[in-house]
């Protein structure tokens, strides 16, 4: 029952955004759509109107061999008890995507996490800054090309602000 409703939503969205869907199918029994990024915002709005009121998780994967990041939106509808997975790709050289924070407020923190660890910039996010690492940190550690050999050290500045240095003697 629940999955049927999820797949019904998938059918409805596929019809309405037919031109923007690059791939549709099922992922571990969850219906999923891969779409072009121009359609992301209107499709998310439509998905919310179809009952997907909860952005359960927003995550990103780095595919350096293909030259893009894939951002994955896991949606859930409490009323229908249905899942829906959306995927969008953005090029590694210019990792820009529209922010969905205006649709689901949960995206405020989730997009900051994806920005912090993967370096994807969400255009339209009201406060896009790092969430887990100190603000002056260099690089985005979940990228495949992040240099794990070069450690960064954190210390406390005179005003209590975070300082980051590559010099082991100047931090912890």
């Amino acid at each position: 029952m629940a999955q049927v409703q999820g797949h019904e939503a998938l059918g409805e969205l596929s019809r309405r955004f037919a031109g923007a869907i690059e791939e549709a199918g099922s992922l571990k029994d969850k219906p999923f759509l891969r779409l072009r990024q121009e359609a992301l915002l209107p499709l998310c709005q439509a998905a919310k109107e179809l009952g997907f009121d909860h952005l359960a998780c927003l995550t990103a994967v780095d595919y350096p061999q293909h030259g893009y990041f894939e951002v994955i939106y896991n949606l859930y509808s409490y009323a229908a008890r249905a899942h829906l997975v959306l995927k969008v790709r953005c090029p590694r050289e210019a990792p820009l995507l529209p922010s969905v924070a205006g649709v689901w407020k949960a995206a405020l923190f989730l997009e900051r996490e994806a920005y912090d660890l993967m370096g994807i910039r969400f255009v339209g996010h009201p406060d896009l800054k790092r969430i887990l690492l100190p603000e002056p940190w260099s690089g985005h550690p979940l990228r495949k090309d992040y240099d794990m050999a070069q450690e960064q050290f954190v210390s406390k500045g005179p005003q209590g602000e975070d300082l980051v240095s590559f010099d082991q003697t100047r931090g912890w």
Binding site: L132, L133, P134, P141, Y146, M148, E151, Q152, F153, V154, S155, K156, G160, D162, W172
Partner: protein, 164 residues
């Protein structure tokens, strides 16, 4: 300097008898009234909570008043992984505690980074930030181990165990 017994002090002619008694009393009082800070960083904190709760009952050893403010605490139990983002905050909390203050590094992460030894985001031991009195190994340590660490700290405060 090895601590002198009361009887030896009484005979050495320096007249420190009253001082020693007071100091001993003070140390004994301090050691049996440690106020830990309510503060957990990772899974070790659950074992710390279990240590404090009824089954293991840390209160038997005079250390039950977990304080929500560093200004009222004299024992910091670093229970868990010290992330680099957290490190300056831990330093600040330690600085806010009133003297005399003590630190227990609980678990592998707080001792040297533990399983996150090669992580980009974890401090390789809380003793890089603040002086540690007692290390309690384990991943996580059992409540018994933490109690053993607490008793070690009490011995240290009383001047009975290893000197700092």
């Amino acid at each position: 300097m090895a601590p002198l017994g009361l009887a030896e002090r009484a005979k050495d002619g320096r007249g420190g008898l009253l001082l020693m008694r007071l100091e001993g009393l003070l140390r004994w009082g301090r050691s049996n009234s440690l106020w830990p800070m309510t503060f957990g960083l990772a899974c070790c904190a659950l074992e710390m909570m279990a240590t404090q709760a009824s089954r293991f009952d840390m209160a038997r050893f005079g250390s039950e008043v977990f304080r929500p403010s560093p200004r009222q605490a004299d024992l910091m139990i670093v229970a868990g992984t010290v992330c680099k983002r957290m490190a300056p905050r831990i330093k600040t909390l330690y600085e806010q505690m009133a003297d005399p203050k003590y630190v227990i590094a609980m678990g592998a992460c707080a001792i040297n980074g533990g399983p996150y030894q090669k992580s980009y985001s974890v401090v390789k031991g809380v003793d890089l930030l603040i002086p540690v009195d007692v290390y309690v190994p384990g991943c996580p340590p059992t409540p018994e181990a933490l109690i053993a660490g607490l008793i070690k700290l009490q011995e240290k405060i009383r001047g009975e165990g290893a000197r700092s």
